[in-house]
Point group: C2
Chain length 147, copies 2
Amino acid sequence: MVDILHRVGVKTDSPEKVYEALTTIHGLAGWWTDDTKGSADVGGVIEFRFPPGGFDMKVIDQQPSERVSWKVVNGPDEWLGTTIDWQLRQDGEHTIVLFKHEGWKEPVEFMHHCSTKWATYLMSLKSLVETGTGAPSPRDVHIAFPD
Amino acid sequence: MVDILHRVGVKTDSPEKVYEALTTIHGLAGWWTDDTKGSADVGGVIEFRFPPGGFDMKVIDQQPSERVSWKVVNGPDEWLGTTIDWQLRQDGEHTIVLFKHEGWKEPVEFMHHCSTKWATYLMSLKSLVETGTGAPSPRDVHIAFPD
């Protein structure tokens, strides 16, 4: 089992805005993909769609301003059954976001791609909270072709 | 042991420019840090310096336009003894760069940080080759504070 790990620091007074961007359909659509639907409450399923396809995530856990956890219940084979874990904490003027995409069976080339792409989406989340504007799909940062 | 993995596609006719950016002091200074010195030949040691500190990398392997491998011989404890492996291959109009930073003992918070930061530096490498201008330190993309 191998994991994708990331960390960003978002300049904001408290973790509330980052938490909102991870736990509301409107917030998620502001940094990951315009085409976000479903239920973002615990036990609900969020449907994220991109031009090449998408993912359905079941919301496993939410601890206000501290933690969000999703399980992939639909999507590419490599993603099925993996989990996405977000941990937040405040450090002075920044909310520290620790990200884990856990449970990949093999370190396949697609995992390398997703690792880099997650980094750009975390920067989009940071930008959304800091400036009000993220770079969700289809206005996402391109790291290869097509991606 | 846990690894950082990334992948970018660089629009260029052949892997030669990416390979040059990984195997010459001038090329490395164009995307990672202005303050790059030493010997970039096999068996040599490259000294990368940033405002907070730096790394010395011994060049372990170079296969023209295909592979470059470094071992960390000086730097933060978490980096000592880890290896950086670059694999290149051409796919049509793009050079695919597969990156691995291998041999981390533990998935510490600093590893999360380095994973995200590597992604931004790979985007800097891509930009250098595609446009002639990268974003090396101290003009690097900031993902937290300070970083």
